[in-house]
Symmetry: C2
Subunit: 325 residues, 2 copies
């Protein structure tokens, strides 16, 4: 920066102010141009560490994930990386371990804010994260005691799925959800019930959110089935496992049983039969969550965010008209 100042024949403070667009500085156009040229000629770019030290902002955000290797999260991460870059931040990824410990660490390492994709933490556990003085946005779920969350439109997605099944002629449907009693989750199945009518819908809880647990849930689904002709699954990986379970039990999809799931991924194309899904804008969710977090960091207040890009029904082979039985 000193070199730039020298070359432009100004004080380094002018350089700093020009670069950071300080409104309190007034400069002639000529001076400004000299500075900008010097910056270009020396291909100068400010030292992040120095800036971080002075401003006590590191320009780093951490995205904390329960497990890195989950396709669902990746879209979000991808969107978050992109947006972070646009806003001048860098995104560090980390796996969820112990809240208190991790928080201390991030505090110490000068992270500016945290994106938290929890999958399966209850509000108490989340409390630990929110109580620190570090900005945290909880991604992909709603929260009752806080505004710092972001989500996609699950009720609407569930409605889309229900409409699809309804229009195929299904009247009795089971719901397969994850283990938690999370506000977000129940909204999914609530919206779903609304469309198909009020009668009792059997809801099965898988013990997790991954394919294995969906596979394991197949048995329970078949055992408790009473004339239902379709299964609505609230998370794609569960459905992938379920499909395998059904296949091995000799249930043919969609003739015997239709399956539809929330969330879409390329993978849905490659299971057999290809899985009908409702695609949700997870990339945008990542982007908007970063924007929201950065706003918090900058003390611009902002409420919760629900991504407005509409869910898309992706019809593949796992849904069809109910068979006559």
């Amino acid at each position: 920066m000193k070199d730039v100042a020298l070359r432009a024949h100004v004080d380094i403070s002018v350089v700093s102010r020009v670069l950071s667009q300080d409104p309190r500085l007034s400069v002639t156009a000529a001076t400004r141009a000299r500075v900008e040229n010097a910056v270009r000629e020396l291909s100068y770019s400010p030292n992040r560490s120095a800036r971080a030290l002075r401003t006590s902002k590191s320009g780093l955000l951490t995205f904390v994930l329960p497990q890195i290797a989950n396709p669902l999260y990746l879209r979000m991460v991808s969107g978050a990386v992109q947006k972070a870059k646009d806003l001048g931040y860098q995104l560090v990824v980390a796996e969820l371990t112990h809240a208190a410990e991790q928080l201390r660490e991030y505090q110490a390492s000068g992270i500016d804010g945290i994106l938290l994709a929890t999958g399966g933490l209850d509000e108490d556990q989340l409390g630990e994260w929110m109580e620190g003085q570090m900005p945290v946005v909880v991604v992909n779920r709603t929260l009752e005691n806080s505004e710092n969350w972001s989500s996609v439109d699950y009720p609407r997605a569930a409605t889309l799925a229900a409409d699809h099944l309804g229009s195929l002629g299904h009247r009795h449907v089971m719901v397969l959800t994850g283990p938690e009693k999370l506000p977000g989750w129940s909204a999914r199945s609530d919206a779903f019930r609304a469309v198909l009518g009020d009668h009792e819908t059997v809801e099965i809880r898988a013990s997790g959110l991954y394919a294995d647990q969906g596979y394991a849930a197949a048995a329970e689904i078949l055992a408790r089935r009473q004339g239902e002709t379709a299964v609505f699954v609230t998370s794609m990986m569960l459905a992938v496992g379920l499909l395998k379970g059904l296949r091995e039990s000799g249930v043919s999809v969609p003739e015997d049983l239709s399956v539809i799931a929330l969330h879409d991924d390329d993978l849905a194309n490659y299971v057999s039969p290809p899985l009908t899904t409702v695609a949700l804008p997870m990339y945008q969710l990542g982007q908007l969550s970063v924007a929201q977090l950065v706003n918090m960091i900058d003390d611009k207040k902002e409420g919760p965010i629900v991504v407005t890009d509409p869910p898309q029904l992706v019809v593949r082979g796992s849904t069809g008209p109910p068979g006559e039985r």
Copy 2:
């Protein structure tokens, strides 16, 4: 740090030296203890930005990926994150865009080193990355003009696959590989040929490394097939797509054609039939690559790394004895 020094009745330079284990400092055990207590009591931890400024080391590594959402890379990323944390670094993720531009950016942002998972760059393009003065480790492939790469043992993995097919009775096998003429890739199929004998093996090149391209390759495989009873696929996602292509063409796996692929992922369980694979230690690859990169940063010389954990054959449903045709 000043507070700690005050509390321990020493100069802050003593604190600094105790904390960074400077061998040039000599202190009495008592003084050292006082410092350590003060650190604990104030739960002090050094300011990363200040340290970064002073030492011009940011403690940040960037893992550059062609696309974040690929399960293969994720294991590596996961291992890398873990190891980086152990070594006191944080891992930033980024998607591959334009080399020169990205390099400048990382230089400016004070990144200490780069892990580069290229999938499909040729050595020229890689050259751009290697020529800067920034430490770069190219992950998951070999390089001819540089020592800065890390890989897993592909020849051995290919041998395992070949042995498996051989012991099932297959004698004529096709190979489906990715598009590049990369040293790493040909090593895979070379080792493979060695086991099954010298006769010409038909090698099909998919136009990419993802499921779609495997799907597209199915047609070519069937067209060029001449009595081969198995396909060896050098990358799992290709095989996943291939399986779908074969299914749609009415080829039954493994009765008509066995399929075996390199790399394993949970996903292999959920395609139909479940895919037989050779699992490679990608998590360890991520770990060791970080270790290697950090050594480079610290100027400890280190050659290329090949992860020694052995590949594991994972037999699932996509391989079987050749059918009589």
